[in-house]
Symmetry: C3
């Protein structure tokens, strides 16, 4: 239980940064943990929250242990759940062939919010932040990273 004395009066600040990435598409899973930590450490925020958001309908962010084996497993699981080569109505109408990308992104959602305590994100030891590019071509991506706090 939080004792009243431990509450912190916020002299609140807000800042938005952007992570620029070149991605390959087709469930390209990119470790963005170092970029994220660098944005945090260059700020003066001690306690607050970080909101990471993908402005686009074919990408997502989540956390995972960034290890080759499990990254490959995640790509395979996503392919099983929402197959690339099924017929999608989106592709019939628009012909851009990325119906599977839209479905994967809608299911996994575009954002993630992480608490910041004593200048650190509350990530576990083997928990990294990843951007997943579900599109069907290489792209330049700009991920929004917004920090609020004191």
């Amino acid at each position: 239980m939080p004792p009243e004395a431990s509450w912190i009066i916020l002299h609140n600040m807000i800042h938005a940064a952007f992570i620029e990435l070149s991605t390959k598409g087709f469930t390209d899973i990119v470790n963005i943990t170092e970029e994220i930590k660098s944005i945090l450490s260059s700020s003066s925020i001690r306690n607050g929250q970080m909101c990471i958001f993908v402005p686009g309908s074919t990408g997502s962010v989540t956390t995972i242990e960034f290890e080759d084996g499990v990254i490959s497993d995640l790509r395979e699981a996503i392919e099983t759940l929402v197959p690339k080569d099924k017929e999608y109505k989106h592709d019939k109408r628009w012909g851009d062939g990325n119906g599977f990308s839209h479905i994967r992104a809608a299911l996994m959602k575009p954002g993630l919010t992480i608490p910041i305590i004593d200048r650190h994100l509350t990530l576990g030891t083997w928990q990294q932040l990843v951007f997943i590019d579900f599109d069907n071509k290489s792209r330049s991506r700009s991920i929004v990273v917004q920090i609020t706090g004191e």
Copy 2:
């Protein structure tokens, strides 16, 4: 990297609005982007965050390109992943027949947080906000939209 000078001191405000919807159930996917933008533009918030939350255990919010083809694809993908006509223990016990609705909503989660920068949500060009009603009947829904910022 955020230069210190670009940090904004918050004169922080908070407001909650509600979006009232009549929905049809059975993975009814409703575009709420205009309602959301209207709530934002009627406020004086320039920088902050919007938290959209479904108070109920058979609905969710996410983003997608709101185009008939891909909306139909999403409904089909959800039906494949969590079939409506499987036997659910929830239905045996409670007889309301919406076991599939609860599972879909628990997997897709009830909320979403979006950064606001310079009076705009950081959505991509073809990225719309949708409420998904997973229940098995038509309903009146009230979606919570809470904005914080300066």
Copy 3:
């Protein structure tokens, strides 16, 4: 639409608490609603947000009606979507046998943010908060609960 008069100037505060749990793993679904409400009511926050976050790569939080039938249904649905006994590359490399746990957690994501209005979380009547432990052994877990607001 929010009338300007209803906006609240924040004398913003932030506090982080932790929920300590002993979990059994294997998609152990634990109702944490009472712990969460207790943290909120022991605070002086009237309006704001609560961010719940799992610091680890084999757990998640979501909402569901906490009723034996549907809890069992959710465990079965997750087993169908990401089977435990498939071959995972993570297990071949690391031998800890919890590849399925990592995939489930990455897909369901580690966090959830809930609005607080007039001292209450905006949960529906039959909507409870749960922690899901996807790991393959019993563990001690510490869930981060961060509240911001006025």
